[in-house]
Assembly symmetry: C2
Homo-oligomer: 375 residues x 2
Amino acid sequence: MLELSGGRFRAVYRIAAPGEEEAAAVAAEIAIEQTIEYPADLVSREDIRGQIFGRVESIARGGDDFFDATISYADETAGGDLPQLLNVLYGNSSLKPGIRLERLDLSEGVLSRFRGPRFGRAGLRALLGVPGRPLLATALKPMGLSPQELACLAYQLALGGIDLVKDDHGLADQPFCRFEDRVHLAAEAVARANRETGLGTIYAPNVTAPVGELARRARFACEAGAGALLISPGLAGLDAMRALADDDRIALPLLFHPALLGSFVTCPEDGISPFALFGQIARLAGADASIFPHYGGRFSFSAEHCLSIARGTEEAMGGLVPIFPVPAGGMTLSRVPELVRFYGRDVVLLIGGALHRGRDLVETCRRFRGLVEAG
Amino acid sequence: MLELSGGRFRAVYRIAAPGEEEAAAVAAEIAIEQTIEYPADLVSREDIRGQIFGRVESIARGGDDFFDATISYADETAGGDLPQLLNVLYGNSSLKPGIRLERLDLSEGVLSRFRGPRFGRAGLRALLGVPGRPLLATALKPMGLSPQELACLAYQLALGGIDLVKDDHGLADQPFCRFEDRVHLAAEAVARANRETGLGTIYAPNVTAPVGELARRARFACEAGAGALLISPGLAGLDAMRALADDDRIALPLLFHPALLGSFVTCPEDGISPFALFGQIARLAGADASIFPHYGGRFSFSAEHCLSIARGTEEAMGGLVPIFPVPAGGMTLSRVPELVRFYGRDVVLLIGGALHRGRDLVETCRRFRGLVEAG
């Protein structure tokens, strides 16, 4: 006889359906698929039916051709860890078209199992000594440069006053640019620039790596003087990011890169909403800043998506602190005022390639900083 | 000055476009996005342009509204590991609608970095002592049963002659069903049944777990007498599966569960083809058997998808051995002859809930086995 705590967490699913009856049938399927995954009529035990089965709490029309269904699950089904929580939220239902995980509404019981972001907005601001304005970020690239060449770029970017200089997420541990060489030289270059400017630029190397290498690289980066870390949880695993965030030996801010996660958000009827994935789930996984494509750049997120992600980075989630949205993907200096109007001051503005269009990289960075300080 | 090996691997992308000109423009974008992710016109160095840039090798019309573009990348860009290989193949392009990763065509240089499946079809057959016929599998469920109750089911399923008895992928380490208790009791129950029947049923517990727990659970399962392991790489990370497959201290067959990976395949214009994801990438990640929803069950894969996955489990990939396709998701005994006609003998037939519809579970399993042996 099961005796669970009674605590339940909720999820909202957007169900593509012509009418409420069809939507209700799909919602009932989700409640079973995400829990017992077994013919409901064969389960006679009332404790399992009442406690383990997902429970459809409400269904409401959300638009012409979709409904929003709220389903609750017993806290205990999620097993207290991120992989199993994601499994209950969306594991098998991800395989069915027309069901999108729209938002998480986690209980205290579940949230208490997650430490979440170690720094968040306030922590990252404190680390950088930048209390109010938007933060400036850029990436070391292109792939193909040597560690020395990238370090030279890092020096100039820091000299120009960029707050966060991250590796491009495509810089891994390639034979032409070894992780350790790059991190060592770039961290040193940024420190040298900081001594000259009196500023506190942070270098964030990419530690996305095979299992068993990731923690080692993160510790190496830490010792080499990195001030934050970049990780692509779509490549390394969301729980690998969570483990990194929880690791007290590392204790650096984490930047979440969306590589490979796009397929969850490109189809409006399937997958996970940008709000839930790049906002809520990024925070659960311990991100301090969440990078995503801003609309009107090289990618095709809508303005609505971008705003919803920003909301997801700050909406109340128990004790999990708000994190920075990092709109990126083809941004230019001319869009800075618009970006600041759109996101407000709690944003990291990430401009990559466009910084290199000017005649003088340091000067262009200073102009970027001037624009942000003026805003 | 870069001096790379010259080895290049290829990927085929399905690009949604009305005409060849538009498709060619998208292909050119992919070649840049997946490598330098930087304005191409700002790169003057011929070594980077010639070696690091992705190279569009060919474009061909694939249907009324899409084209197949083959793009090659320098072996070295993939850094020799799975996360970075996936990043080069599809990291940022996953964020752009209308681009689907259709197939991998990996070079010897890249393939040599992957051990792949440890057992594959031949190894799993040898382990089970079943040389020719399709294999039988089922899952322990529903969630909510105690370890004792699940062990009792495992005993009956093994007594009935099922080859592979796996945990349902929703059985993790919940307070009402602890991993260690379940694995210990279920492995013991299956061993007891094997002593009685003289058969060699294998129990495959679910080891999907947080980073840092996964290897420990796998070793525990190994010592408790599990004969294979179930893992959901969508939850634990694809590279976590690869690491498990490579771990000589464990050395058990791995069953790949598709939880959370559905969003890569539900939208026909985006994501990764079922062939590449559940066939090729599953093998790269070390799966010995790849579970996916068979058409006409609870899910909505097409017959064409299922056939393509089966092809992906066996098509030549350097030294990576062929693995079993495992069609599942609402299968019933009445569909066994059809499934065998569809997949041939090299298939694992996974029937879950439907086995419990009969009056006598052991008898129903024997009927399942009889049907397969008769085919």
